[in-house]
Symmetry: C2
């Protein structure tokens, strides 16, 4: 006797399709009572054990959630996913992933695939290019629980988990000022994304708080890439008065800036300080080590799953309207050699 008898085995024994067996076991109205009886009899004989998925089909719950991330290659999102998985596993949920590759079209396809797959809820971080939110509103209309994390949109009434980007950028800029830098440039990200807008605002606020001027020509509009870091440095070096430090909107941009500076033999941190954002893994391995702002990604993933769980399995004690729910995590500074003009780097 096979201890791992499957639906396929039962189907073979009865000369019907596996789909028929599955439907019969789930008491599907399209299957005759006669067939159901026969299937149950063979299932018993073969000691077939229904798996959790089969029983959750019956309950109308799949215990699967879908997670949309811009790219798994960005370490930050990988860490968020680990946080989601850790929490989801505790509550018996399986996590399916989908990469939008920063393309709104792919993002829409991912949402459709998750709906088709029958997930109980969706966690999503927006692609850089997403400006039409129809596919997310569709989820909401279909009552599929949805929570945004990191890259969110505030105007859709969807619960979200973010890090305090303003505060992170403020801390980074303040640190550069504390190290004696006085002309601090910023390489910005796309301004239709709130996280990048908030970082620019935090940079400006820190300058103002120290009585330093905010100069538009020291703000370079990048697109969150190694290449835009390089372009920004070329722009900064052509200015009559070049900056003595750079706060980059994220670490890959900072990496590009560092590569360009190194090629031009400009000493980091002596001649130019650099701070990034996101605390990507490579930052501690490059030379000099890259100062950055950690966004507590694993914690972000856990909080996002907890919000989603409240929507998927509402408990009576939940009194706060989820439409207004937002979790904000505190950023953590990791200052290394790239900004240590006063020798305080780790």
């Amino acid at each position: 006797m096979n201890p791992r008898a499957t639906i396929a085995d039962i189907a073979k024994a009865l000369n019907v399709t596996p789909a028929t067996v599955s439907r019969a076991l789930n008491d599907h109205p399209g299957i005759s009572q006669e067939t159901k009886k026969a299937v149950r009899k063979v299932a018993e004989k073969l000691q077939y054990k229904r798996n959790k998925i089969a029983s959750s089909l019956r309950s109308g719950r799949s215990h699967m959630i879908g997670v949309i991330i811009p790219s798994a290659a960005i370490n930050f999102f990988g860490e968020v996913v680990h946080g989601i998985e850790a929490m989801a596993n505790t509550y018996g949920y399986t996590v399916l992933l989908y990469q939008s590759n920063e393309l709104p079209d792919y993002e829409r396809k991912g949402i459709e695939a998750f709906v088709s797959a029958g997930v109980d809820g969706v966690l999503a971080s927006l692609a850089k290019g997403t400006v039409d939110f129809g596919h997310y509103l569709d989820l909401k209309r279909h009552n599929v629980p949805l929570v945004f994390f990191d890259r969110v949109n505030d105007e859709l009434g969807i619960p979200s988990v973010v890090v305090d980007d303003f505060r992170g950028a403020y801390t980074a800029t303040e640190h550069l000022i504390g190290q004696g830098y006085r002309r601090i440039g910023h390489i910005a990200g796309q301004q239709h994304l709130k996280i990048f807008k908030d970082r620019l605002a935090g940079y400006k606020a820190a300058l103002e708080a120290s009585g330093l001027p905010v100069e538009e020509k020291l703000i370079y509009q990048g697109d969150v890439s190694i290449e835009s870091g390089r372009r920004a440095v070329r722009h900064f070096l052509e200015l009559p008065e070049r900056p003595d430090a750079i706060f980059a909107v994220e670490d890959y941009t900072a990496l590009g800036a560092m590569k360009e500076l190194k090629e031009r033999k400009i000493q980091i941190p002596e001649e130019m300080g650099v701070v990034g954002f996101a605390n990507e893994v490579f930052g501690e391995h490059i030379s000099p080590g890259l100062s950055s702002i950690d966004q507590q990604p694993a914690q972000m993933g856990k909080e996002a799953f907890k919000l989603l769980l409240e929507m998927m399995e509402p408990r009576k004690e939940a009194v706060v309207a989820l439409d207004q729910k937002r979790v904000t995590l505190a950023p953590i500074a990791f200052f290394r050699q790239s900004s240590a003009r006063n020798g305080e780097g780790a």
Copy 2:
């Protein structure tokens, strides 16, 4: 009139559940003819456009595939997934991902989730710990097309795509010999995984071909981690005759070795040459740049999808039995500073 009418809109208009509407549109036997007629009428009135997913449900195809990877944080797998996505997109398939996190239990859950989600096929790379293949054999028994890539098992009769690991390791070791290194240590990976076994064999063969002895104490059994690279260096340095070069089974192990060597002020490549395997992104950003063997991950992803497509949509001209199908890609050497004792690094 709403140009984006959904199933939910139709359900609302008829005061039935969205599930009923969906089933009615898919001509489900459990829905009465009367309801079907009513649904179709409202759908027409609202100019409801069925999406691809709805029509594929009807055809019994989801046009989704599932991809099991050990970890999205390993850049190599991220690149393979990009290759899969590029090809899948061309053929109208959507790609769902699942991370096993190297745990066989998670891997099994992922397979179950993909089956439950109704994917048309599965691509998988084995977790380090997987020694029981029951969940993969289940897929095969259920006639769900399955192709292995990179971390494969040869004994299950499942088509696969691999890089020529033996040749890659042979090339890496030969290169170190060519740079004048004479006592070359190897930090190995788990030997129940064929790829790591093949790399060890390639290392030995290259030594033998150059008339160098294979010494067991120069082979350190690691577990594919930064930490095992560090441990291996500590082991090597305690030997009466320490090695003058290290060929690590993969780049994170090599990174750990380099970190330990640097902390002990041992010059790379002058006193100790280092070569890794996989050409992870960080390798070109660290100092010195890490020599490595590229596995053509994007190409691997494309070939894996093509094999799967042949199984999902068999064409008449396919004459080769897929059970025996295996695609082997050639490794490409990227030699940088970490092994350039003769000054030939890039």
